[in-house]
Subunit: 444 residues, 2 copies
């Protein structure tokens, strides 16, 4: 055995230990944050907004360092745009923090309250999840957006940003920690994480980290999902369908196809596959023309190609691909059953929509399609936390457990059951003793 190997082993063990200590420190800090009054968490957020304002010059300077380096290594326009902070972006971030400060404290909110017996009352209350590991790509704004959501909901947070935003992320994490400390809470409830190896080791700590939220490419999400036992809130794929039923209004069909595909083709909720009822085919050329005018190119089956002469021949992966651009798969189906079967077989259970004037068909589609979001006569692009009125969006989940579809702050919360009695024992109830009243006081 070479000396180098031993040294690396020791280094690795020490590093693993370092991440364990870091996560434990976040957990300790989180417990203090969660134990504090809601007003104190509000004060932390207000102070954070102040600090972000007072240190704007430093933040922009750190961001400038990242931008210089990014330009030096030849990062492209859209990535540079995502990386860059500006006085107006910072003002928007501060506003967001103040909006959260003004929002009601979710912790301790009662979801359900039941009298089990006279003087024995059970409540289910909202509680923080615990320690979150957030992994995001270039946008340093995410540090403030997710960090402040975590603070509002009493969670501790490990923040791992892209290396290209290293300096920006560092100073923003420092602002979050200072805001906590200014209000007498441990800054350790928030921690920055640097380096891929550190993330790998944190993903092993399923006893210390409660939820991983990856924000970024499908590849990032898939890589994380397949390398951890910790629950992951996110979606790898967004293969969304628009089904034009026999009874679809042709103008509406064209409008929703164009909006779904062209409004923002790179988004996960963009339409990727158009399913067309055979009896709607006479109207397909009009829909295709509207799409073509917006630059859409088609990958269609033989039957649809007869009506869209410029369509390419659909290959085996068309109809189950997230293009992320102006490519659209087109496939003809015999009816509602075939459309639903196609969606279940090839979709990603993200968002699927039907266009029809036939309420019966719509009700069946809404009932049977097993996706996080299912729409009738609306664009797939509506699947979004802001549009759903959830306030801040933590992410969109295609998992079926815990949170599904666009997820707001409730995705960062769990519940606890609180029981208040007068000394009752379980043995006091049953055959020979008292019986339960089970009278619902609030909630469902």
């Amino acid at each position: 055995m070479k000396d180098g190997t031993v040294e690396e082993g020791v280094k690795e063990a020490l590093n693993g230990r370092a991440e364990g200590l870091l996560a434990r420190e976040v957990r300790e800090g989180q417990r203090a944050l969660a134990a504090a009054d809601g007003e104190r968490r509000t004060a932390v957020l207000r102070t954070l907004a102040q600090i972000l304002g007072a240190r704007e010059a430093e933040i922009l300077e750190a961001n400038g360092t990242d931008l210089d380096e990014a330009e030096r290594v030849g990062l492209s326009g859209p990535l540079l745009h995502r990386l860059s902070l500006s006085p107006s972006k910072l003002a928007t971030l501060r506003e967001g923090v103040l909006t959260l400060a003004a929002a009601p404290d979710p912790l301790g909110q009662v979801q359900r309250k039941m009298e089990l017996d006279d003087g024995l009352v059970l409540s289910r209350v909202l509680s923080p999840l615990g320690v979150l590991l957030i992994i995001f790509e270039s946008r340093p704004d995410a540090v403030v957006q997710i960090g402040s959501l975590a603070l509002r909901s009493g969670n501790g947070v490990l923040l791992k940003g892209g290396s290209e935003a290293l300096h920006s992320n560092r100073i923003l994490v420092r602002c979050l920690r200072e805001a906590l400390e200014a209000e007498g809470l441990p800054g350790g409830a928030v921690a920055g994480v640097e380096g891929r190896e550190a993330v790998g080791r944190l993903l092993d700590l399923d006893e210390l980290v409660d939820l991983v939220i990856p924000r970024g490419s499908a590849e990032l999400v898939r890589a994380i999902q397949s390398s951890t036992r910790i629950p992951v809130l996110g979606h790898a794929d967004g293969i969304c369908h628009l089904y034009l039923d026999r009874a679809a209004d042709p103008a509406m069909a064209a409008h929703l196809a164009v909006d779904g595909k062209c409004d923002y083709p790179a988004a996960c909720n963009a339409t990727e596959t158009l399913l067309v009822h055979r009896e709607f085919l006479p109207h397909l050329p009009g829909v295709a023309e509207a799409l073509r005018e917006r630059g859409v190119v088609f990958r269609a089956d033989a039957e649809a190609r007869a009506l869209i002469p410029d369509a390419e021949v659909a290959g085996p992966d068309d109809g189950r691909t997230e293009y992320g651009d102006l490519t659209l798969a087109v496939r003809v189906v015999a009816g509602l059953n075939e459309a639903i079967d196609h969606i279940h077989a090839h979709g990603s259970a993200h968002t699927d929509a039907i266009v029809t004037e036939d309420e019966g068909a719509a009700r069946r589609f809404l009932r049977e399609v097993d996706s996080a979001s299912v729409f009738w006569n609306a664009s797939t692009r509506f699947a979004d936390g802001y549009r759903y009125g959830l306030g801040a969006e933590v992410g969109i989940s295609t998992g079926r457990i815990h949170a599904r579809g666009p997820v707001g702050v409730e995705g960062l919360l769990t519940t606890r059951w609180l029981l208040e009695g007068r000394g009752q024992g379980a043995g006091d109830y049953g055959s020979s003793g008292r019986s339960f009243t089970h009278r619902l006081l609030e909630g469902s």
Copy 2:
């Protein structure tokens, strides 16, 4: 390479394929079950109760075969008791099925409804999770109890019981399938699974199975949690604490300690560790005497041993062990902070209780203890789905994601977002267009 190896490889591949096909068949059946009207699922349950009555003799005969074999291999009394079915147990099971038949259909229930804009309405509705894998030990009753819960909630279910109940489980699974088929639904929504290897292969199919519910020993649950990427609903440990505060009422303290430890010592919600405030020590001998009368033996730290002379010396594992019998760890603490820290460091976040007349101390305990159930002046034994008024109990979860504490039928459900519009596109909103109203119609 030996021929045997090749053959085994082929056999294994075919077997793996067999479980995949089985899970797919359950998924197909589940989709039909979920798409059916609630009345049809109700009819399935009513028919199931009839079939269980009509085939009682056959069921008891199959159970007799299992009991004979169990006696032959020398199974002990309590295990035989759990394995055995009787006319009265079957009557109770049928009653349970009819109660579920009479319960409201959860599917499609609206949790939240919001107008996003005029003619654009978003609802979040309850939906089945999908395919459940239930793994349980000797009690064949579980086939009917969990099978009927799955049917009520539109889920498909793979049922793996203990091999000692093979014949009983087989006929009960057959009854469930016949009830489905009698109502024109695919019997394949319910399937029995036999053999440990088959379970192992199903635990690999995280694309096809949505939730695993192990019901049995802590060892069973731990083994499953560490061998699958599928979410597991359950709890491995129940290390529950009773904290006797400085301001505890001595008589109540004794009553709750006796109930928590002695009412059913093998239960996961039994009290395992007594934490005693130093200022309560003068009352400890009385509490110990009440426990001693019920046969409790003590493992205590030095300070507590001074007052409980017959206590054994606590070893390093006492205070973080689920004894499951009449052993009780006793530990003196300086106050509320130390009690909470001990619970966080050594508990299993299952159920923890404080005994005190000091409301301030109680409120802090209820707020800060991060366990699924947290009680004030009530026995830890109340943590139970029936006592919580949840109706049927699916299990008790110490996970923080999806469901926490005692879990009723809602643990088998997820949600979907349904949006009904009039042809709106997302691009119709924003800077130049319409704006959202986000008016809450129902729910929170």
